[in-house]
Symmetry: C2
Subunit: 502 residues, 2 copies
Amino acid sequence: MLSLRSSTRLFCAKRLAYQRTVYSQASSDLKRVFSKIDDLKPRFIKRLKDAVAIPSVSSEPDRRNELFRMAQFIKSESEPLGVTLQQKELGLQDGVTTSKGEPIPLPPILQGTLKGSGSGKRILIYGHYDVQPANLEDGWSSDPFTLVEKPDGRLVGRGVTDDKGPVIAWINTIQAFKEAGVEIPVDLVFCIEGMEESGSEGLEDFIKQEKSKGFKGVDGICISDNYWVGIKQPVLTYGLRGVSYYSITISGPSEDLHSGLFGGTTYEPMIDLTHVLSRLVTPNGKILIPGIDEMVALLTPEESGLYDKITFTINDLKDALGNDTTIHETPKEALMSRWRYPALSIHGVEGAFSSPGAKTVIPAKVSGKFSIRTVPDIDLKKLDQLVFDHVEKSFASLNSKNKLKVELIHAGKWWVGDPNNWNFEAARKATETVWGVEPDMTREGGSIPIALTFEEELKKPVLLLPIGRGDDGAHSASEKLDTVNYIQGIKTMAAYLYYAGK
Amino acid sequence: MLSLRSSTRLFCAKRLAYQRTVYSQASSDLKRVFSKIDDLKPRFIKRLKDAVAIPSVSSEPDRRNELFRMAQFIKSESEPLGVTLQQKELGLQDGVTTSKGEPIPLPPILQGTLKGSGSGKRILIYGHYDVQPANLEDGWSSDPFTLVEKPDGRLVGRGVTDDKGPVIAWINTIQAFKEAGVEIPVDLVFCIEGMEESGSEGLEDFIKQEKSKGFKGVDGICISDNYWVGIKQPVLTYGLRGVSYYSITISGPSEDLHSGLFGGTTYEPMIDLTHVLSRLVTPNGKILIPGIDEMVALLTPEESGLYDKITFTINDLKDALGNDTTIHETPKEALMSRWRYPALSIHGVEGAFSSPGAKTVIPAKVSGKFSIRTVPDIDLKKLDQLVFDHVEKSFASLNSKNKLKVELIHAGKWWVGDPNNWNFEAARKATETVWGVEPDMTREGGSIPIALTFEEELKKPVLLLPIGRGDDGAHSASEKLDTVNYIQGIKTMAAYLYYAGK
């Protein structure tokens, strides 16, 4: 979501430039794998390029066949490496058709296994092969579905970091083990979906159904679908905020009206909406809905101390924002606001005039969209009730004759794991081996609801192992993955599997 | 802008069903003209059908050639009747190109004259041949550019009432005089533009330039580009509100952000905007910007009495709104709110998420659009300053680090004429002759800025002579003109010219 700024700075941070390195901590087996990863770099970039070239946008029904092509591509790249992948069909997508009105199938989940040398550990790898929409007109400097290698090391294209890069990186990892003649010391189970950017439709049911079948015996889950906090310091992620997304629909006159003919004579839904929206949150982020703060877990001295250790400055945040629009003055306050406190964002209004120019319309029906990022120990059902009550009360106080409907559009729960279990331990050691530094243990402001589903359903620890940087700009028109992060990320994945099996 | 509701009711209002009538008040000359109009009804409907078939949408650059086709059509229909029309070119449109990036010419103004029998009166007829956009997907029951004659008498299609119907009606009027062998007792001057739906670009300059040339010697102006207040009672219009259209742009982070990653850490422009917008007006229409009320002309007992005479009930307003979302309980209050008090409408937000569904974006830059309908004696320059001051003060009180820009997008002044001058007198007598009732003398909530320009530049009285009904749904996907209004409207125009010349 962020553009790359001051890219020249990357060259100053020497540790982050891609180079062959001697990994003193690594075993000879791992060194052989790392060396092979270096050798295969051109092949790995080519593989990512081929993946980016398939415009597998899950939110565009007319491109649904591209999702099937993409699934097939992953299958055909993996199978020569010994991975058995099955395309699990999920039936038709609910309520969605192509522009010609034809129903469309959900993209398949790729489920499969790779038998390792048998330490007994069985690790489930989750990723997704669908991407956000991308059009040249959105501001891309070149065709978003053609991967471009920039002189500064950036690989630019839709999906390079979210999430084709990590998914292809896993395939590359397996190839490197194989070509280095080193056995992978764990069994792998794959769950690669094609609907993540569209709400992961069908995945939760699939996990529930497979927990006693294909996902049986899994010891831990590894998800690589997020980012470092900054641009230099590797991290492991043990917490995510949830998100509850709401809409407030206010309907008035039965059709859009001309403001000249009717302005001043009728209650206008858009006016009511601005009043109701303005009562949700203050400009400096204080949520005005009573009862939410009281559900937030208290900050313990132990937790408070964790934030002091994170490699993050307020200037990092300002860089990411592109200017000084930060609410907080200290990095600790900013990190806590991102990771452990709820936040309410207003996203926009549907049904009102939204084009450039001037239109003198009184919109008859408008929907304001907002969401609340949730954190421990917010009870989501209770949250919904607090939101509904507050919005209804705000609206009632307006004494408008219009009609209000407030509803939850979707909700994903927050998740916090234990950063000291074996799964994180293996990833921590892997990160140290590859990057030469201890990773920061971080949480995320964003939401990956499926993390919690895996943990709740399989009752095994989930690890979030990001390979991209905080400025990768997932979802933006400048999405990138740095070559060094891609290649070192593959090594980190390899070392993770290696240490998880030892 | 309104759909037709309870169309069956139209049959109950017997006077409004189309039928040949004996006009007892009319002179024998006028009776011959009226009879000819009845005879030519099929021809007149065909002419309107041909006009509707040309999709002359001025706001769609790729259809610019249709505007030229439409101008040509009017020319070719008028010239056999003795009207000399010149296509006055206005140069290229500022800042607008076709989808291929080609600059486009402004549509021509049709300027011309028709010499009458010479009473000395010289009347300028204004109208426009461009229309609002229309697509089948907007909810039209049939192709919007194919006029459909409904069994209940409605003529449905884009532009039938706004403003192709009235423009073609003037041509029909001339044809009826000619074929009835009756001389038109006034000289006519035409000014038919093709940019009315897109801000009348070029017209004001044209009027200023022609006032001592083509428009020299004009005694009065007649504009037929508005509607009755209701659906039964003919009206003449002697006042219009002005409109001042503003945008409030708030910019924050340099790019759109992911609300998970940044929610709670940055000032969000959309949140600021809801606060600023909510301080503009209350749900029941009270403008919160200090100083505006003080500029509104005081209500005199004489003026107050005028509203009591208007054929208008609160149920008419409810019918027009489609339900009971009226602010006022009495028709008088509602009429005054529409005609003589300012009103502030919030139209929408540009730059925020406006599609169906859920997107977790923090928009980086949003523009709220609102407008104020202005009335006597509001000073527009002073109004702008009051708006800017209030918005800036509201924003400052938020203590946000975001940036604010508030600007005027366009302004058109209010107009109030003298309903007792010869121009209105002729139209009043014409209406009585054709409809058998005295017209209500009304003002309009909407704005036709060019009315004031004509009056100020030519220093002659402007008359607004609507032929369509209040439920015609100009700009909507059910735009219609009732056949009876079309045909009786032509007769009213004919009688107006007749009486203006006597």
